[in-house]
């Protein structure tokens, strides 16, 4: 049974904000299907009553005081931006609202 179709690939790529070519859709459908077929062996394992491990550290780190500390200057924070607007201290993005 093929679990992963190109329609699934399109749905997931949409969620992941990835534009894929037609060739990539076909290739990923095939490859992800084979990976999931293999991964499905865990689905058959009886895990009733087993707690999930999301993290191996038992003791979650303690809170700390909410204090202002030194951080990057605005110019440094903008320095790696593809479209910085240093005069305004902003990152430029394509228009989000209106036309």
């Amino acid at each position: 049974m093929s679990e992963f179709t190109t329609a699934d690939v399109e749905r997931i790529a949409n969620l992941a904000r990835l534009a894929l070519t037609d060739e990539e859709k076909i290739l990923f459908a095939r490859q992800l299907d084979s990976i999931l077929q293999y991964a499905r062996q865990v689905c058959d394992l009886d895990t009733s009553g087993v707690a999930a491990t999301s993290h191996v550290l038992d003791r979650q780190p303690a809170d700390r005081p909410d204090e202002v500390r030194p951080s990057l200057a605005e110019t440094q924070a903008l320095a790696n931006a593809p479209e910085p607007a240093p005069a305004e201290g902003l990152f430029k993005v394509p228009r989000v609202l209106g036309g």
Partner: protein
């Protein structure tokens, strides 16, 4: 000069018998000689390294005790270095110039180390061969038609080819240990939380850990001691005292209980690899270790569990690459709508393996599949941890091969991602349980390719595996062999 270990360099520079500049120049010359063939480095900071070396040669007396005084080091390119380009092997970070040092890099500098440059790796550390680097694969110094392993392949190559005595890598599913094994050097993944991840480009945050490479266990222990310890900037770094790891290397392993997982040596392991590991177990026994059999019944589920969890975390971590705050933005999308800009930026900025893992991770986290895959994998992760807990009631360290085969040929597995994943069988279980593990050379194949031995320890017990590895090293000479390319 290039044969000196970090320990020897430090002693020589501290006592004045070596100049840091001389050592640094020898490394830079070795890079010039070998890197056109091996491609270990993505960026070499010649000027910065020589300037720092000159500074160390003019040092004050107070600096003489620094643990890595004058020791050159190569740093994997997914670890941020202030003012030195950090790409993580990705096109999307091609021009990224970090405004800060990762905590480990700040600690290296404070310890007197000299950063030579940044090493090649699979894109975002996703891969086992460096073939997923956007900047081309590195080559194995023992056989340049073969991969050095990955993802920290460039760091392993730099150390094996004598371009640097020590290096840093990162290990999520084996990315320090496997290239160390395939290149014939020592590599270690510390316990999760032992080393700060601040400034490490995130792949899978519950698994990622920075680790040391060296040609000897002592050098790995020395480097680990410098980078380990609590960091307020990483909430997952542990508030635990850092022992003097080098002090653990006393050579005495009498009574140490060494666990062997017989079933894992029988199936799917290259015959020469299995032979070398069994021989290594005999060496440990001859030194007084007690050999015990331990089962890890869920070990065979480690690969699917790892690839479900790591990709889920990666899909979330890599959402930050959106062409807005840093990194690449697809050209010509400034006047498009925001969504097109995102989709084109990510389509053009990421390579195939990264896209594949983002897709897989997004899928297993998506509505209707979360329980079946992601939650299930987290439950089986618990079973894998419990296996190790049970095994460590009878053993102090567990021995396995690091990789089921020696180095494979470039191009051999790139078209079959699942085949590539299956090679991680011995390494992926360890980070799922958060444990420390060491890989060190334990032999060579008939074709002259290195074979690696993996020693897995209890949580926070790096000392046991370092002590066992050092004891093994004292009775063997594999670590002294050097590839012809040097």
């Amino acid at each position: 000069m290039n044969e000196l270990t970090a320990r020897e360099i430090r002693e020589g520079v501290a006592t004045g018998s070596l100049s840091a500049s001389e050592v640094c120049r020898a490394c830079l010359e070795q890079i010039e000689r070998t890197d056109p063939r091996l491609h270990a480095f993505l960026t070499v900071d010649r000027e910065g390294a020589l300037a720092r070396a000159a500074q160390i040669d003019r040092r004050s007396r107070t600096e003489e005790r620094l643990p890595l005084l004058g020791v050159p080091i190569a740093v994997k390119d997914n670890i941020c270095t202030r003012g030195l380009r950090t790409t993580a092997g990705s096109r999307i970070l091609e021009a990224f110039d970090p405004p800060y040092d990762a905590t480990v890099v700040a600690r290296l500098r404070a310890a007197g180390a000299i950063v030579l440059g940044k090493t090649n790796c699979d894109e975002f550390a996703m891969g086992s061969s460096t073939e997923n680097s956007a900047y081309g694969a590195s080559r194995n110094p023992w056989a340049p038609d073969r991969t050095p392993g990955g993802s920290s392949g460039g760091s392993a190559v730099a150390v094996a080819s004598r371009a640097a005595p020590i290096a840093l890598g990162s290990d999520t599913g084996g990315s320090v240990r496997q290239p160390a094994a395939l290149c014939g050097v020592v590599g270690m993944k510390p316990s999760y939380g032992r080393v700060s991840r601040y400034g490490l480009v995130a792949f899978a945050s519950s698994l990622d850990q920075i680790g040391p490479f060296g040609r000897t266990v002592f050098d790995a222990a020395l480097l680990l001691g410098v980078i380990a310890g609590h960091d307020p900037a990483d909430s997952t770094s542990a508030q635990r005292p850092v022992p003097d790891f080098t002090a653990a290397l006393a050579g005495d392993i009498r009574g140490l209980r060494v666990g062997v997982v017989r079933s894992m040596l029988e199936d799917g392991v290259d015959e020469e690899v299995a032979r070398s590991v069994l021989d290594a177990i005999d060496v440990l026994r001859a030194r007084g270790a007690a050999i015990v059999d331990v089962p890890l019944p869920h070990a065979r589920f480690a690969i699917p569990v790892y690839y479900l969890i790591a990709t889920a975390e990666a899909s979330s971590n890599l959402a930050r690459y959106d062409g807005v705050r840093y990194g690449f933005r697809a050209p010509g999308t400034d006047n498009a709508d925001l969504r097109t800009m995102y989709e084109q930026t990510r389509a053009q900025g990421f390579g195939a393996e990264v896209k594949r893992r983002i897709m897989l991770g997004t899928y297993v986290l998506s509505a209707g599949y979360y329980e079946a895959y992601y939650l299930k994998a987290q439950q089986v992760r618990t079973l894998i941890r419990q296996d190790y807990d049970a095994a460590f009631e009878h053993a102090d360290v567990i021995v396995t091969p690091t990789s089921p085969t020696a180095a494979f040929k470039l191009g051999e597995r790139v078209h079959d991602p699942l085949q590539m994943y299956l090679a991680d069988v011995f390494t992926v279980g360890v980070p799922l349980a958060g444990l420390p593990a060491l890989s060190l050379p334990c032999g060579f194949t008939r074709d002259g390719l290195p074979i690696g031995l993996q020693l897995v320890g209890r949580m926070w017990d790096e000392e046991a595996i370092l002590r066992a590895g050092d004891a093994y090293e004292r009775d063997t000479t594999w670590w002294k062999r050097k590839p012809e390319v040097t």
